[in-house]
Amino acid sequence: MTQTLITLPDLSLVLLIGASGSGKSSFARKHFLPTEVISSDYCRGLVSDDENNQAATKDAFEVLNFIAGKRLAAGRLTVIDATNVQPESRKSLIDLARRHHVIPVAIVLNLPREVCHARNQSRTDRDFGKGVVWGQSDSLRRSLKGLRKEGFSHVTVLDSVEAIDAVRIERAPLWPDKKTQTGPFDIIGDVHGCFDELHALILKLGYVIEGREPYRVSHPEGRRLILAGDLVDRGPKTPEVLRIVMDMVESGVAYCVNGNHDEKLKKALSGRDVKIAHGLAESLEQLSHETPEFRRQVVDFLDGLISHYVFDGGRLAVSHAGLKEHYIGRGSPRIRSFAMFGETTGETDEFGLPVRYNWARDYRGSTMLVYGHTPVPEPEWLNRTINIDTGCVFGGKLTALRYPEKEIVQVDAAQVYCEPVRPIGHGRDARDGDMIDIEDVTGKRVVETALSRNIVIRDENAMAALEVMSRFAVDPRLLVYLPPTMSPPETSKLDGWLEHPIEAFDYYRQNGVTQVIAQEKHMGSRAVVVLGRDAGAVEQRFGISAGLGTVYTRTGRAFFNDRVLEQGFLARLGDAVTKAGLWEDLATDWLCLDAEILPWSAKAMALLEQQYAPVGAAATHVLPIAAELLARAGQPDLAAKMTARAQMAGAYRDAYRHYCWKVSGLDDYRIAPFHVLAHEGANNLDRDHLWHMAVIDRLCAVGRFVKATERKVIDLNDDAQMAEATAWWEAQTAAGMEGMVVKPLAFTVKGAKGLVQPGVKCRGREYLRIIYGPEYTAPEHLTRLKARNVGGKRALAQREYALGYEALTRFVAKEPLYRVHEAVFGVLALESEPVDPRL
């Protein structure tokens, strides 16, 4: 017997139909993966420990449906191994397939009942009699005719053992699947019979059009066109539009998806009863001048159009009116309808038209989705979707989107061919993209980052961060980055030192970094600055009217409580950027800076008043009195100890006093920027620190209030350079500098063990009194304090850095707001992990 070929769509729900003993399980084993097959017997066993327990059938089928549903949702072909001889048992599975927009397929094993019975007899685990098999066979025979009507689009009936043995199964991609086509493409929005504009646009895109019957269109670089549907109606030259598109699709230079107008025209031309409205009359009139042959070709062409296509490995999808992300690449009546009409709220507006539901704001897919259908004044991106119907027929523009370049190419309409019933853009909500869904941030989350592996955010951390984000943080649109925590070096092995540069240098050497930069660590308050060239620039790029931008703290709170002060501060900084010529040289009109704002006392007054100053006052008052009394009591040893303690208390006061000065206005603030985090088109965490410092030096040169960062570039193979840097650190920290941060010169470095710490801070001996207490340098304290572990802090710093980097990358790439926020939120969530706060 010759082979019987069964072609299955590669995402389908396959029902094996046959009486007990017809060989379904053997068939399934032969043609499918074990995990693709769900057997009702197995499910009976799962719920009752007995595969033949008929009393467990109801529960077993619930389990079967559940598993099948999960598999289909995940896009996996699934085979149901059950008798499936009753229409009602098939119905629930067909519904399941529909719900997941996959194609139900029936493969019927229709063997003579005697064969089935004989097989059952030979098995010890099947003790049911003839009657059961006889009954199943009868049901099956009665079902055969109606299977297609029940909803199976593919039905194969195998009537003999030989026929069953001769089956070969092949899997084929679904209709929309053009994933192997990688482009480049030019996607064109609703044409509506505007042939002249289409012609002009095709030429403008660089295609060559030769001949007319047929049109021969080609692109010298092999680009291809995709038409997003609604070729017809309303406009003046529907037949000509159809002619050129049909020729282009025929020759393979274009793809076209089905629009609602195209569908309706097809029905009208096929003689179906449709309401002649919304420009259909014009199409019919124009086509009446064409030959019947042409009209037949049009019907065939329109009938062949499908709802959507997926291209380029799943990175691009095109449909007429959009899609939900889980519809992409699947097929069902519901998808077809959505692709043609989009989603409506069920209400009608004052123009009698259905109110459209902005499904795009719920879109969270990674596929770029291009669509048309609802005319908009300009193409608009929202969550990786873009509407390119710019209402050409209504006197707007015909728009093409170049893929992968994301460039817009347009041709103005020659005239208004039709007045829109509803003004273009009516009912649009420009802020639909600004709202972030709570599901974008809460629950256990896994954030994919380019720098590191996937980063897990625990539910509890997300909950804590949600509260801080909601109650205290600045608007998410401005919050494009949060800095990572920074680890100190391993504890110093040197006597009398808790932290020392040696260990920082060692860390980088061990991680294969030889060039580092050691930067002065300013003691102020960490600040991220988002600065626009002017208010318009901020509005344009960040989508929020926020003056010149904002300044926020490492946990996303507004740095300045006073809005006027904030804007004044930004204005000064903006002046410096302008004077330094950075807007032009960086070709940007916004900047994001990582900085320290000084003095510490400006932001930390509450801490100083409640904690730091009182401790100093108490210590320096009581310790000398104790020393004096002890001396008088003839206790020189204890007296000396108290004197030493008094000296340490004095040193502690000196330490914090370095970072305090009176702040009565803008003039008293200083800013020490150390990273130019990002500007238009650039995530600068990929540039080395010399670049950052060079840019910042230009700001320092023109802005009196911009404080320079002292630094040394060090070759870690050169002992002299390390010694020099260490000496510098010792001298400077003794004179009041907080410390230094050692960073890989290249900024972002991936080592053998993953991401290398972007910075290691070596804090000065005196400064650390503010952290570990005034008297921490006393040997009896220091020995104990040396027992500390930086491992947890480092792991956290690494993950936070990868997330911050990711946030900037996404923002610079103009990814949707929720994608940027997801990463920023992750940093804040990780910051709520318990870590020794003194590290």
């Binding site: 909601s470 008043e609 006052a617 210590a619 104790a626 804040l828 709520s832």
Partner: protein, 463 residues
């Protein structure tokens, strides 16, 4: 930490007998928090001074305490505990001078029983409530007080005074009484962080307060402060995210607003009004946005006309309190089907908030930054979009009628704004217009003829 005790009662050296500590020797003892020493800087016939010095171990203090929690302590190493007089001093007094505190003296019982002149100096005594409290506590016991307040930092005069005083107390009394007074009143003045050393504090207070505390005019204050429990270490995650600055806690600080509004019991009036409004409109499903500790949810749950009641808040602590208040773990199953609590945020879109007939937003919007109000407005009126929204907020005009609220201040630390009636009405009308609602207004609480009611409300009905 230092305290000196002197007498000029001749022969002053008898102080050694009274304290049972030889004046010529250094007496040292180890405590859990460090070393204690008693020594005599002045040993003369006309003046004898005993000094009690505690050499507190700052590292041990933090590490020991924290080890029970995360392996490290969240408390600061920069801490006044080694320097300022606190309950540690009471512990040391109790240990070093145990016999003296009982009023017994092996060799000088007559002196122990006699009122003689003592001078006590505590160079760094934290006084919560300032010198006035210091005087209120010691003067009724017959002390004369001289106190010099320490400045925070002489290099920065603008930073003002610290909470510490260099205090000298003089009194003519029995030694045992003086020691008992110090034992109890030093931690009471310190108040801030009371480190417990045992769990029998009530007994100790009764024992050491015997004979003077019962009649002390500030007995209540003393007892309350002395028995003040450990500062709660909850909300750790929040504290770690605080930028080092204490953040107002809406749950706790709600008390402040409540105190202000107490006279008129405004909160209850507000909730009664909300309940009545919901009932009048025959609402069956309600989501309470910003439910706090769940008072409204609790009220609604008692009325079976409400079929589904969901309380939402962004604060996990508030939700924890609400769960406890509503006795969630013991609710019968039919109640669990009606009542839900969930964490959400008003500035994000949340599908779970859709499908309710009504949303209540009671005294919530004023806790949002004005810039984030737009996000809230959209999340409720556009996304959740219930048929009815009941929203209340303080009427700023009415603040003038609160005696203890300085002009220009908000009723609550965490309020980001408070609106006048016209500000609120403008916002409400614009919002209603934008999202297809009709709005009417209501006043809650006693209405003043020109300033209006303390609470203003908007009732938004979807058209």
């Amino acid at each position: 930490m230092l305290l000196t005790l002197s007498t000029t009662h001749r022969p002053a050296t008898d102080l050694g007998y009274l304290l049972h500590k030889h004046p010529e020797r250094l007496h040292s003892q180890e405590f859990s928090f460090g070393d204690g020493h008693v020594f005599y800087p002045d040993v003369r016939d006309d003046l004898c001074t005993a000094a009690l010095l505690l050499d507190v171990d700052p590292v041990g203090l933090i590490r020991k305490k924290g080890s029970a929690h995360d392996g490290f302590a969240l408390d600061q190493y920069v801490n006044d505990r080694p320097y300022a007089a606190s309950s540690f001093l009471s512990v040391a007094i109790g240990q070093f001078f145990r016999t003296a505190m009982t009023g017994r003296s092996k060799d000088r019982q007559d002196l122990a029983d006699a009122d003689i002149a003592y001078e006590v100096r505590i160079p760094v005594l934290p006084c919560r409530g300032g010198e006035a409290t210091l005087r209120r506590l010691f003067e009724p016991l017959g002390y004369t007080i001289s106190a010099a307040r320490l400045v925070r930092d002489e290099a920065f005069p603008a930073w003002g005074d610290s909470a510490y005083y260099d205090v000298t107390l003089t009194v003519t009394a029995r030694l045992a009484s003086v020691l008992k007074h110090l034992y109890v009143l030093i931690p009471v003045l310190d108040d801030d962080k009371h480190y417990w050393v045992g769990d029998d504090e009530v007994d100790k207070l009764l024992r050491q307060g015997e004979g003077w505390l019962e009649t002390h005019p500030d007995k209540d204050l003393i007892v309350r402060r002395y028995l003040k429990s450990f500062r709660s270490l909850t909300t750790q995650a929040m504290e770690r995210l605080s930028d080092g600055e204490p953040e107002p806690d809406p749950v706790i600080e709600g008390e402040q607003e409540a105190a202000l509004e107490k006279k008129i019991n405004l909160n209850q009036q507000r909730l009664d009004w909300v309940l009545a409004t919901l009932k009048a409109r025959e609402v069956k499903t309600v989501v309470d946005m910003g439910c706090g500790e769940g008072r409204l949810v609790g009220m609604l749950s008692k009325d079976l006309a409400f079929e589904k009641i969901t309380g939402c808040d962004v604060s996990l602590r508030a939700l924890e309190i609400a769960r406890a208040r509503l006795n969630f773990d013991r609710l019968p199953e039919f109640q669990l089907k009606r009542i839900h609590l969930l964490q959400t945020s008003l500035t994000y879109r949340d599908k779970r908030l859709t499908g309710y007939e009504a949303a209540t937003v009671i005294e919530v919007i004023e806790h949002l930054e004005p810039e984030r109000l737009e996000a809230f407005t959209r999340s409720i009126f556009k996304d959740a979009a219930p048929g009815l929204v009941i929203l209340t907020t303080p009427n700023a005009e009415y603040n003038a009628l609160f005696d203890n609220l300085p002009a220009g201040q908000f009723r609550h630390h965490d309020h980001r704004f408070e609106w006048t009636r016209s500000e609120f009405e403008t916002w409400a009308r614009t919002t209603a217009e934008r999202f297809g609602y009709a709005v009417e207004f209501a006043a809650i609480g006693d209405v003043h003829e020109t300033l209006g009611a303390p609470t203003q409300a908007g009732i938004f009905v979807k058209s």
